[in-house]
Amino acid sequence: MNSEGTILDIQGPIVIAQLPSALIGEQVKLGSEGLMGEVIAREDGRAIIQVYENTEGLRPEGPATALGSQLSVELGPGLLGGIFDGLQRPLNTMLDLTGERIERGLVVSAIDRNRRWAFVPAEELKVGAQVSGGTILGTVPENETITHRILMPPDIAGELHDLVPAGEYAVDDVIGRVRDRYGNIHKLHLSSRWPVRIPRPFGKRDNAVQPLITGQRIMDTFFPLLKGGKGAIPGPFGAGKTVLQQQIARWSDAQIVIYVGCGERGNELTEVLDTFPKLTDPRTGRPLMERTLLVANTSNMPVVAREVSVYVGMTIGEYFRDQGYDVVIVADSTSRWAEALREVSGRLGQMPVEEGYPAYLGSTLSAFYERAGRVVTLNGNHGSVTLIGAVSPPGGDFSEPVTSHTKDIIQTFWALSKDLADARHYPAVDWLESFSLFVDAAAKWWHENINEDWMRLRNAALRLLSESEELARIVNLVGVEALSGQQRWTLETAKLIREGLLQQSALEPQDSFCSPQKQFLMLKLMIEIYNRGAEMLRIGMPVQELLRQPLMAKARRWKIVYSSEDIEGLEKELQAIEPTFDALRTEYASPVQSTGAKADLS
C-alpha cells in the first residue's frame, strides 16, 4: 500500500510533499533517515505533514513514502513498568541502542518481542464459540500486581477456530484464530495495535460512583474526583502542579496509573524515573512501578511528538479499561499539548483566534477529555479511565483559552494559587476557586464506608474557611481588635484548618499519604475544637485565653505525629478534647450560667 512521492518544502516540523494518494492521518516516512510524520492536511496533490522528529537536514526533492496506516500503539503484556517517549518507543532500549542522546529515525518496538508470557486460555471458551471484540481469550500474569487479560481486538468478530493450550508464548506467536462471517481467518496474538486518534469502543457509558482516593486531604475531603471523572489542575509555574500530579500518580487507589509527561522538564522526569521504582504501593505493598506506565516527552524533544504523546497515553489507558481496570491518566501538562497544536497551526498559517490558538482548540480539548469515563466494556465488565490534566496558564491567568476551555469540560477543578505557594502552603489548592461536581456522589461513599458525618463536617469546615476570608478582609482594613471574640475564634480555627489539615507535605513520610479514616478523624477533630471553643466563648472565656491553649499548637502537628494506620492515636486525641475543655469550663463558668446548652456549628 506504500506510495512514493517527493518532498517540496520544509519549514520547522512541517513538511509539504507531493503525495497524491496519501490520506489524512496516514503515516509518512521522510528523507534518507526515514523520519516519521503524519499527514494533517491535503491540498491538490500535496500532503501537509507534521513530523515527529527534528527536520534538520531534510532536503526538497528527497523521498517521501506514505505507509498506508495511521499512527498506532502496540497493546499487550510487557507495557507496565515501562518508560516510553511520545511515540511509544521505550527510552531504556533507546539508551542501549544509541546512547545518551536521542537519535533520529530510530524504530524500536514498544514491547519485548522475545519475552515469553505464561498464557492461560479462558476456561469457558470453547472452539466454535462466537467471539467478538472484547471477549477475554485468556490471561497472562504480567506481574504480581496485575493480571493482563488478553482481549479480542475490538474490530474482529466471528467463530473461534482454535485457541492454544496454556503455555509460554511470545507476543508475536499466534494464540488462536477466528473465522469471521465472510469466512476470513484472523490470527490472534497476545498483542494488538490500535490507532491513537480513534477512541477504543466500549459497550456503554455508566455513572461514576466511587471516589478516587488520592490520599491528599484537600482533594479527597474537600474536592473529590470520581473514578471515571475528569479533573484539571491549573496553576502558574512554581505553584506545585507537578508535585501534586506525582502525588496522585503515587498514591491514588486506581489499579493502573499512566503518567504522561508532556513537554515538561527533563530533570523532573528523571526524578520520577528515579523515585517511582523505589516506591511501594501503600495498598498492596508491591512496587509501584508494577501498575505504572510512563510516557515522557520532555520540552526539548520534538513538538509534534509532544502533541501525540497524550493520545498514546490515553489509548493505552483505554486498553486497560477494556480489561476491566480502573485507570488514572495524569497528563502534565495539557497546556504544552495545546501549545504544540498552536505551533503547528501557526506554521500552517491558519487564522488564529485567541492568543494565537487555532479555532479548533476547544473542540480538540473536549474530544480528548471525553475519552475519560466509567464504561461497561464490550465484554460486560466495568472499567474506567480517570483523566487529570495539569494546565499551565501563562502568568497564572485562568481566563486564558486553555484554562477556560478546560474548565468548561472537567468536573473537578483544583485551582492552584501563586499566593499560597509563595507562603509555602502546599498543596497550594485554593479552596475558594476550586470546585467539584461530585460532592454528592462522593458523600454516598464516605457515608457508607467511613462516617455519616462526612458531608456535614466537610461543609462546616468549608464554611469556616470562607467566613474567615471575609473576616480577614475586615482585619486588613481595621485590625484584628475590631473583631468580636467569636469572630476571632472563627479566624483562628480557620487558620488551624489551613495549617493542620489543608497543608500536606509530600516530603514527610507520615503526611505524604493520608488514609480516608485519618482524613475524616482530622476533620472531625478540627470542627470539634471549633465547636468546643465557641461554647467556651459563650460562657465568657476570653478568646486570648483559648488561643493560648497548648492544644492549638499540638493540633497543627497531628498530621505528622500519627500515621495513616494510627487511627487509634487520633481517636484518643478526639476523646481527650472533651475533658480538656471541661477542665477549662470549670475554671471559667460562672456558677449561675447553664453549661448544658450546646450549639454546634452544624
Binding site: 518544502d9 520547522g12 526538497p60 528523571t270
Partner: protein, 468 residues
C-alpha cells in the same frame, strides 16, 4: 555543491535573505555569504522549498546589494570546532575569535543544535552548590546540573549577583570527588546584547577572582547584529557540553540576557511571517527556549555537569511577560530581584517569596547541608509571608494598634531583610553561617509561632534571649 556560488537572491530584509532556484538544500545547513565588499557573513537555512530557500544571516542584512551578493551552501550543518584551548578565549556568537587570536582548529566539531538528552540517561541533580549568598543557599538552594534563572528588571543588579555566584560558587567538602571537582571547574559566559560596560564588569570580575583562564566567553554586545543572538546560546552550550561531558568538567553557564535573545527570535519570526501568539512572540517560543535551557543537567556515568544561570530581564518588571513566564515553566525555579528591596538599599535585593528552587529538597539535609535545613527554610518562608501581611495591616491601621505578636513579626521582617537578605557583594557566607543566622532571626518570634520546625529543632537551636 559547496564550491558553487549562487547570486539568485530574491529579497533581503530584517536579517533574512531569500534565494530562488537553488535545488535540494537541506534545512539547517550552514551558508557563507560574500557581500560586495568581499566581507564574509554567516548564515543558516531556516526554510527550504523547491522554489525558495530562506536564510537567516547572523551578521544582519544591512548593506547587502542583491546583485552583488554571492551565496555558498556549505552542505553541512552549523558546527562548532571544539578543543580544550577554548578556555580563556573570547568568541563572537558564531564561534569566531573576538580576541585577535587565531581561530580554534580541531578535528572535533559538533552541530550547535545538539540533540535531546534521553530522559532515561539523565542523572538527577542533587549536589549542593554553596554560593555564599544566604537567600540562595538557605532558601533557594542551587544544585549541580540545575537551571536557575535570575528574574530581574532594568537597573537591578542582576549582573552583580551573577558575578558574585561565579566568584563564590563551590561544593562543600562532603563528596569524595570534591577536590577534583574544584579543579575541573569551568565557566561559559554567554552575553547577548549586553552593554560594553556590563561586559567589562564581568571581565574584571572574572579577573579579580582569578578564574579568567577557566572562562570561555561568547560575546554579542548591544551594538552587534541582533540576529547573531539566535545562534549564540546554542554555540555556547555546545562548548559547555563538550567541556562537561567530554572533558568531565563542572561547567557553570551564565547567559545574559535571555530577553534580548527572545526579541531577536521575534524579529526573525515576524520577518518570516509567522503567526504571533503573545506579545508578538511566535508560538514556538516555548519549544525554542526549552531547546536551550534543557541542555543543562547531568548524565549518568559521566563526571561533568552543566549548571545554567540565565538572566532574564522582565520588561517593566512584569513576571507574566512571555519570556520570564515561559522560562519559569522550563527552569527549575527562579531567583527574583525586587525594586523595593533595592530602594531600601538591601543588597542583593532577592525577593524570597516569589523565588524558588525546585531541586532544593534533594540537595539539602543531613550529609549535604544540615539536618534542620529544610524546616528552617520552610519556617522562614512562612514567617516572612505572615510578616508581610502584618506590614500591610500596619500600613493601614498604624503600628501602634498592632498586637504584641504582630509587633514581633515586624521586628522579624526587619531583621530578616537587614541581616539575612542583605549581605555585601564580597561577603561569602558558609551554609552553616546562613542557618545560624536564620535561627538568630527566627528566635525573634515566640516558639509557638514556629510550627514548621520540630520540637527537637527548637530545643537545639532556638536562642531564648532572642525574644527580648
Amino acid at each position: 555543491m559547496s564550491m558553487l556560488e549562487y547570486r539568485s537572491s530574491a529579497w533581503a530584509r530584517g536579517g533574512l535573505l531569500a534565494m530562488r532556484n537553488v535545488p535540494g538544500v537541506a534545512l539547517g545547513d550552514r551558508v557563507a555569504v560574500r557581500d560586495h565588499l568581499g566581507n564574509r557573513r554567516n548564515g543558516q537555512v531556516i526554510r527550504s522549498s523547491s522554489e525558495m530557500v530562506l536564510i537567516q544571516i547572523f551578521e544582519g542584512t544591512d548593506n547587502l546589494d542583491l546583485e552583488r551578493t554571492w551565496v555558498r551552501f556549505l552542505d553541512q550543518p552549523f558546527e562548532l570546532a571544539l578543543a580544550p584551548e577554548m578556555l580563556g578565549r573570547v568568541f563572537n556568537g558564531v564561534g569566531q575569535p573576538r580576541d585577535g587570536r587565531p581561530p580554534i582548529i580541531s578535528s572535533l566539531a559538533r552541530n550547535v543544535n545538539g540533540a535531546a538528552i534521553n530522559p532515561a540517561a539523565r542523572a538527577y541533580p542533587r549536589e549542593f552548590i554553596q554560593t555564599g549568598i544566604s537567600t540562595i543557599d538557605g532558601m533557594n538552594t542551587l544544585v549541580r546540573g540545575q537551571k536557575l534563572p535570575v528574574f530581574s528588571g532594568s537597573g537591578l543588579p542582576h549582573n552583580r549577583l551573577a558575578a558574585q555566584i561565579v566568584r563564590q560558587a563551590k561544593l562543600l567538602a562532603y563528596g569524595d570527588d570534591n577536590r577534583e571537582g574544584q579543579e575541573s571547574f569551568a565557566l561559559v559566559f554567554a552575553a547577548m546584547g549586553v552593554s560594553h560596560s556590563d561586559a567589562q564588569f564581568f571581565e574584571e570580575s572574572f579577573e579579580e577572582s582569578g578564574v579568567l583562564g577557566q572562562v570561555v566567553n561568547f560575546i554579542n554586545l548591544a551594538d552587534d547584529p541582533p540576529i547573531e543572538r539566535l545562534i549564540l546560546p546554542r554555540v555556547a552550550l555546545t562548548c559547555a557540553e563538550y567541556l562537561a561531558f567530554d572533558l568531565g568538567m563542572h561547567v557553570l553557564v551564565v547567559m545574559t540576557d535571555m530577553t534580548y535573545y527572545a526579541e531577536a527570535l521575534r524579529e526573525i519570526a515576524t520577518g518570516k511571517g509567522d503567526v504571533p501568539a503573545r506579545k508578538g512572540f511566535p508560538g514556538y517560543l516555548y519549544s525554542d527556549l526549552a531547546e536551550i535551557y534543557e541542555r543543562a543537567g547531568r548524565v549518568r556515568n559521566k563526571k561533568g555537569s552543566i549548571t545554567l544561570i540565565p538572566v532574564v530581564s522582565m520588561p517593566s518588571d512584569d513576571i507574566t511577560h512571555p519570556v520570564p513566564d515561559l522560562t519559569g515553566y522550563i527552569t527549575e525555579g527562579q531567583i527574583v530581584l525586587s525594586r523595593e528591596l533595592m530602594a531600601a538599599n538591601i543588597q542583593p535585593p532577592v525577593s524570597v517569596l516569589p523565588s524558588l528552587s525546585r531541586l532544593m529538597k534533594d540537595g539539602i539535609g543531613e550529609g549535604m547541608t544540615r539536618e534542620d535545613h529544610a524546616r528552617v527554610s520552610s519556617q522562614l518562608f512562612a514567617s516572612y509571608a505572615k510578616a508581610q501581611e502584618v506590614r500591610s495591616l500596619a500600613a493601614i491601621i498604624g503600628a501602634e494598634e498592632l498586637s504584641q505578636e504582630d509587633n514581633q513579626y515586624l521586628k522579624f521582617a526587619e531583621a530578616f531583610e537587614q541581616r539575612f537578605v542583605s549581605q555585601g557583594e564580597h561577603e561569602d557566607r558558609s551554609i552553616f553561617h546562613t542557618l545560624d543566622l536564620a535561627w538568630e532571626i527566627l528566635s525573634l518570634l515566640p516558639k509557638e509561632a514556629l510550627t514548621r520546625l520540630s520540637e527537637k529543632d527548637i530545643e537545639a537551636h532556638y536562642l531564648s534571649t532572642g525574644t527580648q
